[in-house]
Symmetry: C2
Subunit: 332 residues, 2 copies
């Protein structure tokens, strides 16, 4: 098959998986009452999104067993868990919007957001509990560790806001915990229920974690260098907010004293346009974009090595390889 | 054995169980970092409390298997879950104190409370995941249903604050969900890991739920009629706050139009002493205390019938019977 055909076939497949997730979520029967608990639960689950995590679970399961549908409950579990984190993170970040719509705590209030998030976490465990008893210990162990790590990552992210000595290494660890491990977990759950060996399941987990870190680094790069006509958010938003991204932290660690002074004084610059331009000038002097892209490339390559190491026919790995390439060549 | 000896022996046993819980919690190794996630977790778990739920798990397990220690992880699971609900409920209720100490969100902030509560919920699942694979489906099914019901109960409780048409039946259902089902679950988990039959485990669950409802009704009664010298809180606190307790709801449902008018106008009374006295006068006219005690008695008796129905030697039921009597004869 040509590259275009492969990609087209992959997108059809992803569309199928996504439809399974969307229709399963839409068909889930929640109790009618209390309205203020279940309306927000339905609201967030219906908001949509890429459904990346459940799709990864199904792709993993398909790769090992040829039956993606076996991963249905794992897929729904991770998607529901992800939505729990969205509601609680939005409260902690005081975010007004999520996917272009009001966040749960804005539409209702913080108490409702808090409790409906809690309910979603339990709902995610309900899905996992549907698996065969002999699979449950492995599933729960992985899931519990991941869930705690996601909490740790979110706490670190908040802690970083008020710290001015965050190291690059700490930052990578934070994005690993906050975002990447759930991608790894989604894949590994699919592998477990698809009957993968311990070693293959672990390699696939590592693939997901490394891909997730690469993806987050790309987020940092796009926030500064994306084409505004293709980018959903304001380009330069991270610079304006003095957000401690991989780019800023690398600049802070590699700047000479003159550059450091300029950078620090720009933190208080109120003219946003001027600020973004001036910070980008320093980034250019320090070749920050190159450095970030190199780092991203390292994680991407490691992810590919993890995928290579898995003991299944190479052709069965194509969908995951294709999606990884696709994800990391995005412009928005 | 005399009644006093039985009680003394029971208290020694409870002390043993409580010590197991306390020392297990104290010896649990949490990661050092992030400090703002794990310090609050340790703080709330070290605050103490009666440890009623884990004690019930161990008593149940002892009753069926003679080995209370088998219930250790179930016991720690329900205790950790209970502490998760305390942190989140305290945020929702904007409570400044818990067990005489600052609440987590007061000592740190609401974001920290939110996230450390989430982490505790996951920690509770970690404990349950330690059981044998063949027990996990039953354990998880019960636990997931209970956890969701506790969320439902909390939401109802909050909804009731702004409603003025709450029915007694709805109130009973709210306290059942918010408090009683977790007592039933604690007992049933102990029964499951102690090898009880399905029927016995269910009867023990019902015992716990009915006892829990009786206990909450007693709470409502004590809040109005306790001896202030023995009562930890301000007697009459519920009346002052216009809290929709079993007593107030019963008064509202049984009052004649004159009493109803007096009662409603007292909601705005700012002289607390006068308010408590006047409401108590209406309660006396309507024999509200008797009615509440009768209702409590019904749930207590049903609980005892549930206990009677269980297929173990009567002597093995003594500890649960004794503790039920003890709990419902408290004065504070």
């Amino acid at each position: 098959m040509s590259k275009e055909q492969t990609q087209k076939e992959m997108f059809n497949r992803l569309e199928t998986y996504k439809n399974v997730v969307t229709s399963e979520l839409a068909n889930t029967q929640f109790p009618e009452q209390p309205l203020n608990l279940y309306e927000p639960v339905k609201y967030i689950l219906d908001l949509g999104g890429k459904r990346m995590r459940p799709i990864l679970s199904m792709m993993a399961c398909e790769m090992f067993s040829g039956e993606y549908i076996k991963a249905k409950d794992a897929a729904l579990g991770v998607e529901i868990f992800h939505n729990f984190t969205l509601i609680h993170d939005d409260i902690m970040d005081a975010a007004p919007l999520r996917r272009g719509k009001e966040t749960v705590h804005k539409k209702w209030n913080e108490r409702v957001g808090l409790l409906s998030g809690d309910a979603l976490m339990v709902e995610s465990y309900k899905r996992l509990a549907n698996y065969r008893p002999d699979l449950l210990p492995k599933i729960l162990k992985l899931y519990n560790i991941t869930a705690i790590e996601v909490c740790e990552g979110q706490q670190m992210d908040m802690d970083f806001e008020s710290r001015d000595d965050v190291k690059i290494e700490e930052y990578i660890n934070m994005i690993r915990l906050k975002t990447a491990v759930l991608l790894g977990c989604s894949l590994q759950l699919g592998a477990i229920v698809g009957g993968a060996s311990e070693k293959d399941a672990q390699d696939l987990y590592n693939f997901g974690v490394n891909l997730g870190i690469a993806f987050q680094l790309q987020d940092d790069i796009l926030d500064v260098y994306a084409d505004q006509s293709k980018f959903g958010k304001q380009v330069g938003g991270d610079i304006i907010a003095n957000k401690k991204t991989f780019l800023l932290l690398t600049a802070l660690e590699t700047a000479n004293s003159d550059q450091l002074q300029r950078l620090r004084s720009l933190f208080n610059e109120t003219n946003n346009e001027k600020k973004v331009e001036a910070v980008k000038e320093i980034y250019a002097e320090l070749r920050i974009k190159d450095k970030a892209e190199q780092q991203m490339e390292i994680y991407y390559r490691t992810a590919m090595e993890n995928l290579d190491a898995i003991h299944v026919d190479d052709v069965k790995k194509e969908p995951l390889r294709t999606i990884a390439n696709y994800l990391l060549s995005r412009e928005s």
